[in-house]
């Protein structure tokens, strides 16, 4: 019972922080839309071309915009020592990482659920594909949150090379992006592809708490 209370207060705190930083969230969404505009200006407003490339464009931009919010994972809590306080409150670092992944998914990734249908009408994607895109986005963004926690925990003490965190996310997200685009484009093999995608999510969800917690401990002991 106590544990559930602690977890509840953790989420309340996360909600308050992200509610105060709403402009940060909106600038993420705005980056996504603006990047789509840039793509349309670059390719040209040809309806057929946008229809064929649209899903790939949307997925790669979701990936890029998820690398923008990496610092929100642990960096602020690490700098003002909130991580140690939460840990002393009785939550292990592994559990903190899992809760952070879930809260990151809820407070940073879920607003894209509203943005994606609007964006897909902008690039002329068929209506029956939008629901598949949303399903693949929910699983794929969970994978992105796991990868983001790994990369954010690795780069806690990194003060020289800021692009490295994005590189780590992008290099490990290659299988995710292959299968999540294939889920939308290949409707006959939907069930097998979605199973592979869920399997990828389970793999990353299994390794990311341990890896991130090890990196957080390392960073805290050398702060």
């Amino acid at each position: 019972m106590k544990l559930i209370k602690k977890i509840f207060y953790f989420f309340v705190r996360e909600f308050k922080i992200s509610f105060k930083n709403l402009n940060d969230l909106f600038s993420n969404v705005l980056f996504f839309f603006l990047a789509i505009f840039v793509f349309v200006f670059a390719i040209g407003p040809d309806k057929q071309a946008l229809n064929t490339f649209g899903i790939g464009i949307i997925w790669s931009l979701l990936l890029l915009s998820s690398t923008l919010s990496l610092r929100r994972f642990f960096q602020d809590d690490f700098n003002n020592d909130a991580l140690i306080v939460i840990h002393m409150g009785g939550l292990s670092y592994e559990l903190i990482v899992i809760l952070k992944i879930i809260s990151h998914f809820v407070f940073v990734k879920l607003p894209f659920l509203i943005a994606i249908p609007i964006a897909s009408t902008l690039v002329h994607i068929d209506y029956n594909k939008i629901i598949l895109l949303l399903i693949s986005f929910i699983i794929g963004s969970l994978i992105l949150s796991c990868l983001g926690s790994i990369s954010a925990a690795m780069n806690l003490l990194n003060k020289r090379n800021f692009a490295l965190g994005s590189l780590i996310v992008m290099i490990f997200s290659i299988p995710m992006i292959i299968f999540s685009v294939a889920v939308v484009n290949d409707e006959e093999n939907f069930s097998s592809l979605i199973n592979i995608l869920i399997g990828l999510f389970l793999i990353f969800f299994a390794i990311s708490p341990w890896v991130s917690a090890a990196c957080i401990r390392l960073a805290l002991s050398n702060k």
Binding site: I150, L157, K159, L164, L167, L218
Partner: protein, 231 residues
């Protein structure tokens, strides 16, 4: 007996002993390998371009072997707190990156006359390119932390996660229908390589191994000496 693998001081002494014979044998094996390549027969379809294989295949093997060594080193170093493992990681990463680059470039030069393109997006080529990027990230990780312990352990953890890529590279030609041919070195596989070609190939592979080992020994020694000075 294997104390030199744990203790940096003993490793340095061991490296001093082994250095000179290693230099000579590397030179001899490389020379023999180059002569054997010159004497080896041309392919009936590919002509003389088949000789790119004697650079391409050893470089690819060595790129993967280097990553495997790095993975084992990081696991051992993290689990048993052996500092030499971290030193080997740092020293060996640029060598692996170079081998991967040689593999990619020679494969590209081979692909242009044989396949008609410099590059195709098939599974084997893409996964090797990913391996190259992983090597580059490992090298970058070295320079982005001020604290050495954090740098070493983060690099080791990253290497362990990145080793997911190794089985993908190995089995990519079996799992997917790729333009790149499956492995034909083993005598058990049905289209297998001829004996007159496998002897220079094995010799070149040994030569590449010795070159890599030589550079690695020099780099590890330098790293150990630098660390002693910084203490």
């Amino acid at each position: 007996m294997f104390g030199f693998l744990v203790n940096p001081n003993k490793f340095n002494k061991f490296a001093d002993i082994i250095m000179k014979p290693l230099c000579y044998s590397t030179f001899v094996i490389l020379l023999v390998g180059l002569i054997l390549i010159y004497l080896s027969p041309s392919d009936y379809q590919q002509g003389s371009t088949v000789r790119i294989m004697y650079i391409h295949v050893p470089a690819a093997w060595l790129a993967m072997l280097t990553y495997l060594i790095m993975t084992i080193c990081s696991v051992v170093a993290l689990a048993f707190r052996i500092p030499l493992g971290f030193i080997i990681n740092i020293a060996v990463a640029p060598i692996g990156a170079m081998f991967t680059l040689i593999c990619l470039v020679s494969g590209s030069l081979w692909g242009k006359p044989m396949w008609g393109t410099w590059w195709v997006w098939d599974a084997r080529l893409t996964s090797v390119a990913v391996l190259f990027v992983i090597y580059i990230i490992i090298i970058f990780l070295k320079y982005s932390f001020e604290n050495r312990e954090v740098q070493e352990k983060t690099t080791a953890i990253f290497i362990i996660i990145g080793s997911i890529n190794l089985p993908i590279i190995k089995f990519s030609v079996d799992w997917w229908n790729t333009l790149h041919q499956p492995a034909s070195i083993s005598k058990l596989s049905s289209p297998s390589i001829d004996t007159s070609m496998i002897i220079p190939l094995i010799t070149m592979c040994l030569a590449f191994m010795f070159i890599g080992l030589l550079i690695a020994l020099i780099r590890i020694k330098t790293e150990i000496i630098l660390r002693k000075d910084n203490l």
